[in-house]
Amino acid sequence: MTRIDNEPRHDGHGRPDAVSVRGLVKHYGETKALDGVDLDVREGTVRGVLGPNGAGKTTLVRIMSTLLVPDSGHATVAGFDVVRQPRRLRRVIGLTGQYASVDEKLSGRENLYLIGRLLDLTRKDARTRADELLERFSLTEASKRPASTYSGGMRRRLDLAASMIGSPTVLFLDEPTTGLDPRTRKEVWGEVKRMVGDGVTVLLTTQYMEEAEQLANELTVIDRGRVIANGGIDELKAKVGGRTLRIRPADPLELRPTAAALDEFGLTGPGNATVDIATGTVLVPILSDEQLTAVVGALTARGITLAGLSTELPSLDEVFLSLTGHRASEPTGPGDPRDTPADRSHESYEEAAV
């Protein structure tokens, strides 16, 4: 199997990819945190990196933001090499870490002012920029309070604001909504979308398929330091079986007949309908809105009354199950066959690169 290119694309004429990673390897002692990762982010797009805890997502972001030096492989950000040109690279990136990296003892305004000064803004410019960003991230009212008094969402917004001070061209968001409640999560997504609207290139790591779907144009799924799938969101969703339709018949006695009817219709995506007794629902994978409509029509024709209907994105676990044959949280035994996912990654990588 031939690689398309081993070097970052860099022809001197066209613009290089905003982020380009080739064969990145990083060990921590015996543990291989990254085991040959390839990845590109085109300028102005969002690349989601999806993976469970310990997959190597944070290590990847730390290498890209010059906090860690890789053992081997190449990586460039905005055309700058992470190892050879760290100082130039640091001028064009923004970083929002997994833990809100703001100074809790300082006020929101002081936090932003400090970053501004460290980015060589004059006192006046640092102040103006801080106020601008406080306004933009709806923090003006709380700007004088110490960040320790902020809610989780406010802290995350301050963190995003801090990473925007230097008007970066590439932004790294390492699990930006981990630990947030659903409402706050949506709020942060809104902010990230606005930042992308301004033309920032984003590399986002996440554990949530839903987050990737909301924010990313393209997705890389990684597991144990390896890329196991790579491609557009829709492409991957089709690969993992799209959404799950959850149907609640009005009469609980109709649960099994409903499931049987669905299998009989054959209107849905891969996989059979399953009955979830605990919630009184039937689950069935679907690939499109047309399938959803067809299912409702067919069930109605059978005289089954529906009390509830919802669609769900596959969970990280389900994504992993369909891509790798094991669950995200499952520890691998020594005899685990790794060949399949690795092969697959190269295959899909080439698809994406061509």
Binding site: G12, S65, L67, R87, L95, G97, A100, R117, L118, P146
Partner: protein, 276 residues
């Protein structure tokens, strides 16, 4: 190589890095970081308790509890003149330990990652921390001398007093690099504190800080002779009140400070730079 070729070079082929941060930018970064630490104090005044209370408690404790026993009942005044210069030496060690624990806690939050991903010299974060701690040490020393004067401390040589303060600051700041390194390397603040006490206690008590080593057994006297804290305490006493030659002790103290700084500052900066 002419300047024109450099300018003509297309940006995409330029594989060089920016030069290191210049001295003026460096100074600006350090002062912004010092400002951060000063704002902390305003936000959390309790963080100054150690600096304010330690000199008061230690002076009172040693003068009134041990002073009589060491210098003879009723001779506490004399002991004040002995122990206050010694405590100046001790202060630096204790505050330096706080540098390690504070810096370690800073690392537990993501703030350090943000600083390290900014285009600033990575040493500036450490230097700012040391500057702030030198300020705190200066305040502790001022309080120590204030309490000393209330208890009858006499100073015959005022320029000597300032020289003694300066010497204590130089030595104290060199020790801070050791604890900064520990702050970066060790897992948590408790570990640093535990380790710190284990080292500090014998160093402080096995010295001429609290009592003249002349009553100690021979092996211990050998230890105190080589203990830099003895040199610093003796130098401070000589500088403040004369009565003993100071040149040797001053030299020894400066030499220790220099060696510790030259060895530990690069280690601290390196460890900070490569912290994973």
């Amino acid at each position: 190589m002419s300047a024109a070729t450099v300018i003509d070079k297309p940006a995409a082929l330029d594989t060089g890095d920016d030069p290191h941060v210049g001295p003026r930018a460096h100074l600006r970064h350090i002062s912004a970081l010092i400002r951060r630490n000063v704002l902390w104090i305003r936000q959390d005044p309790e963080s100054m308790f150690d600096v304010i209370l330690m000199p008061i408690v230690f002076t009172l404790l040693f003068v009134f509890v041990f002073g009589g026993a060491i210098a003879g009942k009723g001779n506490q005044d004399e002991y004040v003149n002995y122990v206050v210069p010694g405590l100046m030496a001790m202060m630096g060690m204790n505050i330096a330990m706080g540098v390690g624990t504070g810096f370690n806690q800073d690392f537990q939050t993501g703030v350090m990652d943000r600083f390290r991903s900014l285009p600033i010299s990575r040493a500036s974060v450490l230097i700012a921390k040391i500057m702030v701690e030198i300020g705190r040490l200066l305040l502790a020393t001022a309080i120590l001398l204030g309490v000393g004067f209330l208890l009858g401390l006499s100073v015959s040589n005022v320029p000597g007093l300032f020289a003694a303060i300066g010497l204590a600051l130089v030595f104290g700041s060199s020790i801070m690099w050791i604890f900064l390194t520990m702050g970066v390397v060790m897992k948590n603040a408790q570990a640093i504190q535990g380790m710190g006490f284990l080292v500090l206690m014998p160093l402080q008590f096995g010295s001429s800080i609290f009592s003249p080593p002349s009553t100690m057994p021979g092996w211990l006297q050998t230890f105190t002779d080589y203990n830099p804290l003895s040199s610093l305490a003796d130098a401070a006493r000589g500088l403040m009140n004369g009565g003993q030659p100071v040149a040797h002790d001053v030299m020894i103290t400066l030499l220790w400070s220099l060696v510790i700084t030259v060895v530990m500052a690069p280690v601290a900066i390196h460890k900070y730079r490569t912290k994973t």
